[in-house]
């Protein structure tokens, strides 16, 4: 049976929202940690604001709050229904999309999504302080993993699967690129090979925001270095949040669609164009052309993939 364009759209956004909720939680976790350990005056607020910048939420936040402290930022990123990217809004969006496509997802996926939303929507923001916040952030990530696990374990490998996976990895690629772009200046090659304390703190932040601070050691067997960190999050194909991995994953799923539907669409050209950027290149080349320019270009081309996908397959 053919799939409605709206169903494809719902599936795409369902997993984008789940991924975004997870990324928001991770980002807030990093900001929260950094604000506890920062030794400088005003450091806490600075870290939190850079978190908001990474998520492109800083302007909306400034409209709604005067002070950036753990409480205001946590509320804003977790619970604020007025913030379209808060964990609350993401889970609500994911659940609404899931409900629209009940017949296109499995019972296990539905239960995982519905359960997460019902549980989260009953939490009162004022009850979530201190240690409770850390626990809740971890729960958000676990819920996302559970949903993805249900998807991988139970869903037919058909067009619906491809739209779900594409949504998930388009979102993840965007997130990793934004985290890098927020801190690109601390990754630029400099005369001093050994980073100062502030550099190390910033690098840790980047790696943690991509859940990469542990796996880094397994790949590089080395202390934190700017060049390695950039390489890890951009070009390492074994890193499941790196740009090249995410782009490759989206491509696989677009290829699956081309195979199922017997036709290539404009999104496939956009995909090739995105991949060109990360394949057959090296960190040295990227640095020499400009890291920031590279990331900007990646984000733009990744967006084009998402947009052409929606026109190619009749989303609305």
């Amino acid at each position: 049976m053919r799939m409605l364009g709206r169903t494809a759209q719902n599936l795409f956004w369902l997993s984008r929202y789940v991924e975004r909720a997870e990324n928001m939680a991770r980002l807030l976790e990093v900001g929260y940690r950094m604000s506890m350990t920062s030794r400088r005056e005003g450091g806490a607020s600075e870290h939190l604001i850079s978190m908001l910048q990474a998520a492109e939420m800083d302007e909306l936040f400034a409209e709604r709050h005067e002070v950036a402290d753990v409480d205001t930022v946590a509320y804003f990123m977790m619970f604020d229904p007025e913030n379209p990217s808060s964990v609350y809004s993401c889970l609500q969006g994911a659940r609404t999309n899931a409900r629209s496509v009940r017949t296109a997802i499995t019972t296990d996926m539905w239960e995982s999504m519905n359960g997460a939303w019902l549980e989260f929507s009953q939490i009162k923001p004022k009850d979530v302080r201190g240690a409770k916040l850390a626990g809740l952030l971890q729960w958000v990530r676990q819920s996302s993993h559970e949903f993805r696990g249900a998807l991988l374990g139970t869903l037919l490998r058909d067009d619906g699967f491809a739209f779900l996976q594409a949504g998930n990895f388009v979102e993840r690629a965007d997130n990793t690129a934004r985290i890098l772009d927020m801190k690109y200046y601390v990754l630029l090659p400099r005369s001093s090979l050994i980073g100062g304390e502030i550099d190390i703190q910033q690098w840790t932040l980047i790696l943690r925001a991509a859940s990469a601070h542990r796996s880094y050691g397994h790949v590089y067997h080395d202390r934190y270095k700017a060049h390695n960190i950039a390489d890890f999050l951009i070009l390492r194909p074994e890193m499941p949040r790196s740009l090249i991995y995410c782009a490759g994953f989206v491509q696989q799923n677009l290829d699956l669609l081309a195979k199922l539907y017997g036709r290539r669409e404009s999104c496939h050209d956009a995909m090739d164009n995105l991949l060109k950027l990360v394949e057959d290149t090296s960190m040295d080349q990227i640095f020499s052309h400009g890291l920031h320019e590279f990331l900007d270009e990646f984000i733009a081309r990744n967006n084009t993939v998402s947009e052409t996908l929606s026109t190619s397959y009749n989303f609305y």
Partner: protein
């Protein structure tokens, strides 16, 4: 129908067990203490897991409720069912013939058997349907007939639901749950299956596809969307039939034909099982502010390029005022006496009947002619004096706007309650499918049960639950 003890479906007047309930009675006796309670808890878990919920309007999104399910099935004997289903089939055939006539030559009005005013001035009459030829002449394909029982041989039709009757998913899921909970009880009885309903629905829909449709007509279930209280049922039926679940904006009309927007482009739609009310169906023909419908779909229907199920305008045949004429309607088109009785209904425009009604209002049920879902209704015995007076005034002011019926002593069935098993009042909604080929009636239907002691109100919004309904095979 006096105010004697209501008829209990499990017991004879002398307290002995009625034949159809013999196996159930034995099984109930064997259940350990709290056995039914544990089963009830399991049932609740099964329903949550299957996601059988209904949305509660006005409550926070995400708070869908589970309709209470009673673990003791309601049982109908084979011969009782044969009688019922013959009566139901007769009724739905006559009502479809009536609809065809009303929207064509109106012979029944010319013959003076049904007052012309009652039809042509009725809000449920749909002038846009005049002269339109629905595929195979069928108007009402999917019908839920509400039946109550007041004695061993006394069944009454309370209402014919010819628009978009709901609840069939509960009938199916109740059976699934019951088979999981009490397989041993099934082994002792021969129970007619209900699980063919989605397949029969599909066949019915295919049987009325336009001639232009291919060998496998494309079927869409049209839903108002996820915030509709019956959304679960819409997605459930689409899923079980292998049909596409569409919202209005998933469909469009081009050159008088209906298409759905798929990932690979437009695909022609042949049959639309719409769960949207007539007035929202097409903003170009009905309510122009409708966001739920499909612009132009009525013209495509009129041109015979798509079939709408049920047809628009079927509401004229289940209008409460028209209801009183159903025995006439059956006689007029089929030349037969009605096999199933209507509830006796008093006509308040008749001076003598009105006087009697006003005198005895405390014992009667008053229903607004165009009301539904329990709105605009008064049950005399459970209402206050002030309410009686209020409805008396209403009847005097607009006698044609009300029908009045005696309060029926609905039959009771054994039901699991706190502290054991007790009789509770029930009704029955069998589901009927009228195709271009044949009439298909699923044995049984949905039994609704008033869980409150003594209550006659079976609506889920007011403490009603459901039961699995067993029709025994010979």
């Amino acid at each position: 129908m006096g105010d004697t003890t209501p008829f209990d479906e499990m017991h004879n007047a002398d307290g002995s067990i009625r034949e159809p309930y013999r196996a159930l009675s034995g099984w109930l006796d064997e259940q350990p203490d709290k056995g039914l309670g544990l089963m009830q808890a399991d049932a609740e878990a099964i329903f949550r897991k299957l996601g059988i919920t209904f949305a509660v309007y006005g409550s926070e999104e995400g708070t869908e409720k589970v309709i209470p399910f009673d673990v003791i099935p309601r049982i109908i004997a084979a011969n009782e069912w044969r009688r019922l289903s013959r009566g139901i089939e007769q009724r739905v055939k006559a009502l479809n013939a009536f609809l065809y006539d009303i929207y064509h030559r109106q012979e029944i009005l010319k013959a003076g058997r049904v007052p012309e005013k009652l039809i042509l001035n009725n809000a449920a009459f749909c002038p846009q349907m005049m002269g339109l030829e629905p595929a195979k002449g069928v108007y009402a394909h999917i019908i839920g007939v509400d039946i109550v029982r007041v004695g061993p041989d006394d069944f009454f039709v309370l209402e014919d639901n010819l628009r978009t009757p709901s609840g069939v998913s509960y009938m199916l899921e109740d059976r699934e749950a019951m088979m999981l909970l009490a397989p041993d009880l099934f082994q002792r009885s021969k129970v007619a299956p209900v699980e063919n309903y989605p397949e029969n629905l599909r066949r019915t829909l295919e049987s009325v596809a336009p001639a232009s449709a291919g060998r496998n007509p494309v079927i869409a279930v049209l839903t108002p969307g996820i915030y509709n209280s019956a959304y679960f049922e819409h997605s459930f039926l689409a899923d079980r039939m292998g049909a596409q679940l569409c919202e209005g904006h998933d469909l469009f009309v081009d050159g008088g034909k209906v298409y759905m927007r798929t990932t690979t482009g437009p695909e022609r739609v042949d049959v639309i099982y719409r769960r949207i009310d007539d007035e929202y169906l097409d903003p170009l023909t009905f309510r122009p502010d409708s966001m739920l419908g499909v612009p132009g779909v009525f013209d495509a229907y009129r041109a015979g390029n798509v079939t709408l199920v049920n047809a628009p305008g079927t509401g004229i045949a289940d209008d409460k005022a028209v209801y009183t004429y159903v025995p006439e309607i059956i006689e007029f088109y089929l030349g037969e006496k009605a096999l199933l009785n209507n509830v006796p209904t008093y006509n308040c425009t008749d001076r003598d009947q009105r006087a009697w009604v006003l005198e005895n209002i405390g014992d009667l049920v008053v229903k607004e002619v165009h009301g539904s879902g329990g709105y605009g209704m008064m049950v005399g015995p459970t209402s206050t004096k002030a309410q009686h007076e209020e409805f008396k005034k209403k009847i005097i002011a607009r006698p044609d706007n009300y029908i009045v019926q005696p309060t029926l002593a609905l039959s009771t069935c054994p039901t699991h309650v706190d502290g054991g098993v007790a009789p509770r009042h029930v009704d029955l909604r069998p589901y009927v499918l009228v195709g271009g080929d044949e009439v298909r009636i699923t044995p049984g239907g949905l039994t609704r049960v008033a869980l409150e002691k003594g209550s006659l109100i079976v609506n889920s919004s007011q403490g009603g639950g459901t039961k699995d309904t067993w029709v025994l095979e010979d």
